[in-house]
Structure formats: structure tokens, C-alpha cells
């Protein structure tokens, strides 16, 4: 599977399954990244998203982590892009809780 994956400054990564992008009519992630999103790190190459900068530069902060690419892809693309932003200390906190947070409870 063709995948574009890169790390971001805050600790986390963006993964794009490029095979899904081939049939994408909107390329909404690239549009978003170059308009409302301030990063302007994505471009189209051979019909799929590619990075304009090196992995190092992107990780150093060229990606502005506005999250627009993921949300636009979800609404207008082929759900090919996933942003993973871990917060391990929060996971530890949640594991130690004796009471569930309300989002896990049934109304």
C-alpha cells in the first residue's frame, strides 16, 4: 500500500493512504492546506498529495497542525487521512480512574 506518513511538531503523525487518493475528485486536503490552513505543506504530485518540504522541516513546525486536512478529507474526500496525536499522560490518568468520564456513559 502506498502511504505518505510524516511526523508533526507537537508529537504525533499524519498518515495518508495514497491509493484512496487516486480516485478522490476533490483533493480537499491539498486545497485546505493551501488556503485556510496556514501550513501550505501539501501539493499534488502524480495526482496524489505530496510534501513540499522535507520530513525534517515538516516535523520542525512547517505543518501548522490546524487539522483541516483530516476534517476536509473526511467530509469531501475518501477518508484517507488520519492524524494521530497521542497524549500518553492522559491515557495513564484515564487508566487510573475509578469512575468513567461522562463521554463513555450512556444517557
Amino acid at each position: 500500500m502506498k502511504v505518505l506518513e510524516f511526523e508533526v511538531r507537537s508529537g504525533g503523525s499524519i498518515r495518508i493512504e495514497l491509493e484512496k487518493c487516486e480516485s478522490c475528485e476533490t483533493k480537499a486536503c491539498v486545497k485546505m492546506c493551501n488556503t485556510q490552513g496556514m501550513g501550505q505543506i501539501l501539493e499534488l504530485k502524480d495526482g496524489v498529495p505530496a510534501l513540499k518540504y522535507s520530513l525534517e522541516e515538516v516535523k520542525r513546525g512547517a505543518c501548522t497542525e490546524d487539522l483541516g486536512c483530516e476534517l476536509e478529507c473526511e467530509l469531501h474526500g475518501n477518508k484517507a487521512l488520519v492524524i494521530t496525536l497521542p497524549l500518553p499522560e492522559l491515557d495513564e490518568y484515564l487508566e487510573g480512574l475509578s469512575e468513567q468520564p461522562t463521554y463513555l456513559r450512556e444517557a
Binding site: 507537537s10 513546525g61 497542525e65 476534517l71 467530509l75 497524549l87 499522560e89 495513564e92 468520564p101 461522562t102
Partner: protein, 423 residues
């Protein structure tokens, strides 16, 4: 501000050559018995909590023999001092004190420079001395570029009056070392109270060291968890988790403190605990002022500034929603220059992850208010993603005041409670 417990503060003093009583940190009666072999009797047993006025709260005891030691350890471990549980003790040799003094270096916000403070009245709260006997407090500003020298300290001590010249020499030397602690460890306060005159010279009987939390990332040798100012208690696990959000990323900040970590205050005062995220600390306070009289109590205070990236909003939303006691959530921005569409995307991504079955529509009453840069885009994003259609969420724009926000939240909460009975 990160306050070090006394034993860690004394360890820093030790590193800089400030004499402290011989002592060890212990967490059980067995450890205490082993340590006393080395120290001998009499010993002081001191509860390691961050709150002030520990002595008055019975947090310092003395022991002359093994029986009184084991009694003291049993009495102190597990005790609560001003709400904080005692989980460790400092066991140290009891010093023969001739006289108690006060010495500190702190930041003076009015002059924006450090200030050295000396008082011949040690062992009492310096704020109390400032009120009852202001003439007994002597200060000198420190030029941070020039430093604080032995003779500067001598000048200050001389004002304090009746010290012998040998004592002054010892104290001046110690004062410059205290300044080294202050500078080297990025302190907001390095305080010795009481500073005891003893036969061998002088010794720090207590240590209060507050580190500037913005400097913790470079204070790696201190091994303390980075967290926002939590007052006179240790940071909670959730606060420590929240503080890691800013640790690796300078692009904007999110400050998170639990004002009522277990919601006990809200519950005992008959208020409904809610989670709060504000853009702008002033907005946070104003919305609290509007919520509290209506019966809702924000159990966290969260404020973002400096135009944080969307990922920071995503993470902080997850932190706020992780508080198990909240029965509602509010995000309120001031009329801000921040890019509020970033905030919106962060909250939307978090909500979609927390509520996957409903597509991000929350199961508790939520009110989000966008006022400022890109507020129209932010409101539109919630609509586009179908979250605004949720039964228990209201997405509001720039025409909404804090008062209206609180009232709208109140109405939504009442409806939710009536219909669902709560969670």
C-alpha cells in the same frame, strides 16, 4: 510555579553549599527506624506537604526515642494537612538553635528584578512580620546582569542590626549561595525560614523553593513534573498530562488547572460541576462569574493564548472532558485575534473521537461560543460536521454575551436533566 517539597529544596541548598541539618526522606515506619540508626536522637519529623503553616497544623513533631518516633510517624503518615495527604516525611537531626532569622531571594514584579530580603525575625510568616513589624524587614534589589556579591549581602545584613561580625560573614556567604540557587534553578522564590544561627555557624532549617514553571523544560536535573500553578498542593495527574501539551510545542499555550479536582467543593455547595475552556483568562473569570450564581461551578480553569495550533485544542478538549464529574462543558472565547477555526477543528476532532457513535454530538450539555477572528468559519465548521444538530450542544457566535452564554447553558442543562435524568 512548581513548589518543591522541603526535602528537595534542601537538596538544592546542599548542592550550593548551604548547610542543612542531616536528614532523609522516608515513607514508612521501617524506613524511619533504619534512618534513625544513622542520625541518632533527638530527631525532627516533618510532614512533606506543600502547604504553608505546616507547623501550626501539627505537621512537625519531635522524637527522643524509638517509641516516640514510631508514634510520630504513625500520626503523620496519612494525615491531611490543609487538604493534602501526607505521603512522606523528612526525618532530620534536631539542631541546637541559638537564634532564628529570615532570608530570601524572590522576584519583584514591580521592579522586574530579583530582590534579596533579610529579617532578624525568623521562624514566623514573613507576611505577618510585614504587617506587624515592617521595620524588621530589609531588602535590596539585585541587578541580574551584575549579580549579587558578598559585599551586597553585607550591606543588607548590616541594616538588620545586632549581628556579630563573624555571624555576618557566615550569613553573607550563605546569602550569595541562596542567590545562586535562585538563578541557577530558575526560581521565583528561594526562601530560608527559619535560618538558624547554631554553634557551628548557620543552617537552613526549612526550605521553600518555587521554580518558574515556564523554565521547567530546561531544569531537567530537578526531576519534577511540569504543571501549571496549582497553589499550595501538588499538581494532579490530569494537570501534569495537560502541561505536556505545551512542553514540545511553543506555538500558543493552553493553561489548565483543576479548581476543584474531585468536585467536592461544587457538591458540598450544591453546585453542578462543569468543564470550562476559555480563550482569554478574563473571559474565563467573567463566564465563571455568570455561571456560579446560576448554580454551575467550573471545576477546571483553562485558558489559551498566543493563537495555539489546532492540535493543542484537540488535546486540551480531551483533557477537560476526561474529568469524570463534569455534567456539562463550555468553550467561550473573548473577542479574540486568535484563529478560532483552529479551535473549532480541535474541538470537533476531539468530540468525534469521544462520541464516535453520534458523529461527535455530545451526551452532556455543551455550549461553544466563538467571538473573534474566523468566528464565522468556526461556527460553520460545527454545522458542516453535523455537530450543531446535536440535541445537547449550542454553537453560538459573536453576538452572544457571557451572561447569555450562562443562561443558555442553564436552560440546556435543565432540559437535559429533565429528559435524561443525568448520567
Amino acid at each position: 510555579m512548581a513548589r518543591l517539597p522541603e526535602y528537595q529544596g534542601k537538596a538544592l541548598f546542599n548542592r550550593k553549599g548551604i548547610p542543612v541539618p542531616e536528614g532523609r526522606f522516608v515513607q514508612s515506619a521501617d524506613e524511619a527506624m533504619n534512618v534513625v540508626h544513622e542520625l541518632g536522637f533527638p530527631v525532627a519529623i516533618k510532614a512533606q506537604v506543600l502547604s504553608g503553616r505546616r507547623g501550626e497544623a501539627g505537621g512537625v513533631l519531635f522524637a527522643e526515642d524509638r517509641d516516640s518516633l514510631s508514634q510520630a510517624v504513625a500520626e503523620l503518615l496519612g494525615k491531611r494537612i490543609q487538604g493534602s495527604p501526607v505521603e512522606g516525611l523528612l526525618l532530620e537531626e534536631r539542631a541546637e538553635v541559638q537564634r532564628e532569622l529570615y532570608m530570601a531571594v524572590t522576584a519583584d514584579p514591580s521592579t522586574r528584578q530579583p530582590i534579596a530580603i533579610f529579617s532578624p525575625k525568623g521562624g514566623v510568616d514573613i507576611e505577618e512580620t510585614a504587617e506587624t513589624e515592617p521595620a524588621a524587614i530589609f531588602t535590596t534589589p539585585i541587578d541580574i546582569l551584575r549579580g549579587f556579591y558578598y559585599y551586597d549581602a553585607m550591606d543588607l545584613l548590616r541594616q538588620g542590626g545586632d549581628l556579630e561580625s563573624r555571624q555576618m560573614l557566615t550569613l553573607a556567604n550563605l546569602f550569595t549561595r541562596l542567590y545562586q540557587v535562585y538563578r541557577e534553578y530558575d526560581c521565583k522564590l528561594a526562601e530560608i525560614n527559619p535560618l538558624a544561627l547554631v554553634v557551628q555557624g548557620a543552617m537552613a532549617l526549612d526550605a521553600r523553593v518555587d521554580i518558574d514553571d515556564d523554565a521547567l523544560a530546561r531544569q531537567t536535573t530537578l526531576d519534577i513534573d511540569f504543571a501549571e500553578e496549582a497553589g499550595e498542593r501538588a499538581a494532579t495527574l490530569l494537570e501534569i498530562a495537560a502541561a505536556t501539551i505545551d512542553e514540545k510545542d511553543h506555538r500558543g499555550t493552553v493553561h489548565f488547572v483543576q479548581t476543584d479536582p474531585d468536585a467536592s467543593y461544587a457538591k458540598t455547595t450544591g453546585k453542578i460541576p462543569v468543564g470550562l475552556d476559555a480563550v482569554g483568562a478574563g473571559t474565563g473569570l467573567t463566564i465563571m462569574d455568570e455561571l456560579v450564581p446560576l448554580g454551575y461551578y467550573p471545576i477546571d480553569f483553562c485558558d489559551s493564548s498566543g493563537n495555539p495550533v489546532g492540535s493543542k485544542f484537540y488535546r486540551i478538549t480531551k483533557v477537560i472532558m476526561a474529568q469524570p464529574h463534569i455534567e456539562g462543558y463550555l468553550f467561550v472565547s473573548c473577542v479574540s485575534s486568535q484563529q478560532l477555526d483552529n479551535a473549532a477543528r480541535g474541538i470537533i476532532k476531539a468530540f468525534k473521537e469521544l462520541y464516535p457513535r453520534s458523529g461527535g454530538r455530545p451526551n452532556i450539555p455543551c455550549v461553544v461560543v466563538f467571538r473573534g477572528g474566523w468566528d464565522d468559519v468556526a461556527v460553520e465548521l460545527f454545522r458542516e460536521h453535523g455537530i450543531s444538530d446535536g440535541r445537547w450542544i449550542k454553537v453560538l457566535g459573536r453576538d452572544t454575551t457571557e451572561k447569555e452564554t450562562a443562561e443558555i447553558f442553564g436552560a440546556l442543562y435543565r432540559e437535559w436533566k429533565k429528559e435524561t435524568g443525568g448520567l
